[in-house]
């Protein structure tokens, strides 16, 4: 009899154990699934009415933002910065609460390593799969886990063809021409862009550790400095179109905008190489309005919307299907659409090592100081 009861008890206990385990598991799964959904699920509606956008100065169409507000009810608070380093410095100084930032490729990698970016869970977005094929796996964000492509472009230089008649086509010729136009030339206030350009002008590579090459770059930029009017990354569209500067470092899209105001403007894709940069939207850690940030990202993955951004800023984008909404005149212009050969000269900018960065800083301080 005891055996019979024990057998029953064992079977009962087993069943009880199984049922308990099953319940526990389903409970856990049941609890977990909504969590995962909450983290990855695209919000059905905005939460609150604010979005804190931290963007490059003069880099997004104000009308596009207004349309975003009209369509979603979310107001955009725009803060601006002038360089990736500035943006990073602000975030690290304690400015938490930005919902969307716009880091360039190499900065995405740096920030992701520092744990400053959040996953965006793109697959749950209605427009989440609208990326052009070649933009899905960039070196700095494979699979686009943290970012959505915004605009991309190349850094070269621009000049007024009625004032600069030597027809420069390389960085070497750019730097050589500067002393002929004292007070009418400008370069960027950007350590990496300027030093890289100087290095390229004599065949060296960006991120070089070779101190002789860096010294030569330093000597070069110091020698042209007296001929510069200002060292600035913004305000150059106006400077070029008005003739305040006749020869300057320029982004290709900005030069197109200058051309609209002054037909004498020419953009050059330097034959000795140039950076191909990709700007991206990302959600930083500490964002206050994550749902609204996702809605914004989704909005910017709509081909019509991103095309409006492209048309205003004159840079191309990474969203499939946007081509048909781009302005034909702009698409036909070389400043907007580089040829294959010109595109091949563009090199994606990877971050330099900390050691090389410090060397760059030495060069830049010696130059600026």
């Amino acid at each position: 009899m005891k055996l019979g009861i024990s057998k029953l008890t064992i079977r009962y206990r087993k069943r009880l154990a199984l049922v308990s385990i099953a319940t526990a598991v389903s409970l856990l799964v049941g609890l977990a699934i909504p969590q995962a959904n909450a983290a990855g699920l695209y919000p059905s509606k905005p939460k609150g009415t604010e979005l804190n956008l931290y963007n490059w100065s003069n880099y997004i169409d104000p009308e596009l933002l207004k349309r975003f507000t009209a369509e979603t009810g979310i107001k955009v608070n725009l803060g601006v910065y002038e360089s990736n380093a500035q943006m990073l410095a602000k975030l690290e100084a304690g400015a938490r609460g930005y919902d969307i930032i716009v880091p360039t490729d190499y900065m995405v990698q740096i920030m992701q390593k520092k744990g400053l970016l959040q996953r965006i869970h793109r697959s749950s977005y209605p427009n989440g799969n609208n990326l052009k094929a070649e933009f899905v796996n960039p070196y700095f964000d494979r699979g686009r886990v943290y970012t959505v492509p915004y605009l991309h472009g190349l850094t070269g230089f621009g000049y007024l063809k009625d004032k600069v008649t030597t027809n420069p086509t390389t960085w070497k010729e750019f730097f050589a021409a500067i002393p002929s136009y004292p007070g009418k030339t400008t370069i960027f206030d950007d350590k990496k862009e300027v030093i890289d350009a100087a290095l390229r002008s004599f065949g060296a590579k960006p991120c070089t550790k070779n101190v002789t090459q860096l010294q030569r770059a330093q000597d070069l930029i110091k020698s042209i400095k007296p001929n510069l009017n200002t060292i600035a990354s913004s305000g150059n569209i106006g400077r070029l179109s008005s003739g305040t500067s006749v020869l300057l470092m320029m982004y290709n899209g900005a030069t197109y905008k200058a051309k609209l105001a002054n037909p004498n403007v020419v953009f050059v894709y330097p034959k000795d190489g140039m950076p191909l940069w990709q700007d991206n939207f990302a959600i930083p850690v500490g964002a206050k309005n994550i749902d609204n940030a996702k809605i914004f990202l989704n909005f910017m993955m709509d081909p019509k919307n991103i095309a409006q951004a492209s048309n205003w800023a004159a840079y191309n984008n990474g969203i499939a299907g946007s081509e048909k909404y781009l302005l034909p005149a702009m698409q036909a212009d070389t400043a907007f659409s580089p040829t294959a050969a010109q595109m091949a000269l563009g090199v994606a900018m990877a971050p330099c090592s900390t050691q090389v960065n410090d060397l760059y800083t030495k060069v830049w301080t010696a130059f600026k100081g």
Binding site: G79, G94, G97, S234
Partner: protein, 272 residues
């Protein structure tokens, strides 16, 4: 025989011409901005005829209006709090010249004599050390600290003008210091409180450097926004904004002065 003054300002060499020249120097740029805000041309620096067209674009500028709101939302509380703190300092310490009091007074007044960049980075460094994120409250603290020494000036000068005997008498009659404060000091200080508040308000509205360092998302103040615009170079919109930044404080100041002048005159008339 009435004595004629044997000399005049013109006897002192160069005083009058330099004086007049400096006033012209001070006002030429201001008038230029004012006039150019009515420049029709899209090229901000070359005159192209008279027009008010750019003024209407201002109201569409949501970023401008938002930054103005942010600045106001900091400046108004800052003015009130700084005026109160400064009054507390003046009232509590009185004219005491003990070492501790002198040191603390110097400390509170330090932002007045130190370069702003030092206090700005110091504030940023402190906030970063204690982990205070950069948002509205941190900016407000930074502004209050900056405004207190300015708020202190009118209060101090008003207290200095008081007849001490009133206070001594009140003391001798047995009034507690709180009573003295509520019944005598505060009522006498009211006009100075207004100047204090106004001074703090303007200092806070105009502040750029400290705000630049300590600002975060949602706290883009008006000067920060304007600086961003200025970096893009001269433009007709900036002409209008600059002109407004000229006109509004000037009008406010003139209104304030006329008001105090008429009050004074009516007081004098009443006392006759």
């Amino acid at each position: 025989m009435t004595k004629q003054k044997s000399w005049s300002v013109s006897h002192l060499p160069l005083i009058k011409p330099i004086g007049i020249a400096s006033l012209l120097f001070l006002y030429l740029p201001l008038f230029t901005v004012l006039i150019f805000s009515f420049n029709r041309s899209e090229d901000a620096t070359t005159w192209g005829g008279f027009s008010t067209r750019w003024y209407s674009t201002i109201l569409d500028n949501t970023d401008l209006i938002r930054s103005a709101k942010v600045s106001l939302s900091i400046a108004i509380p800052c003015a009130i709090i700084a005026a109160l703190i400064a009054t507390g300092l003046a009232v509590g310490i009185g004219r005491a010249t003990g070492k501790v009091q002198n040191f603390l007074r110097a400390l509170v007044n330090a932002p007045l004599v130190l370069p702003e960049i030092v206090t700005a980075v110091g504030t940023l460094a402190l906030f970063s050390l204690v982990g205070l994120p950069l948002r509205y409250s941190s900016l407000l603290f930074a502004h209050i600290v900056m405004c207190v020494p300015f708020a202190f000036l009118p209060i101090r000068s008003r207290l200095r003008d008081f007849d001490e005997n009133i206070f001594e008498a009140a003391r001798d009659l047995g009034a507690s210091s709180t009573r003295v404060m509520m019944k005598i000091t505060v009522p006498l200080l009211v006009p100075a409180l207004l100047s204090s508040g106004l001074l703090s308000f303007i200092i806070s509205m105009d502040d750029f450097l400290t705000s630049l360092f300590v600002s975060g998302p949602e706290t883009t103040t008006l000067p920060i926004y304007i600086f961003g615009l200025l970096k893009l170079g001269a433009s007709p919109e900036v002409n209008v904004i600059a002109a407004l930044l000229l006109i509004i404080p000037t009008l406010g100041l003139l209104v304030g002065i006329t008001w105090t002048a008429t009050r004074r005159r009516s007081n004098e008339a009443r006392n006759k």
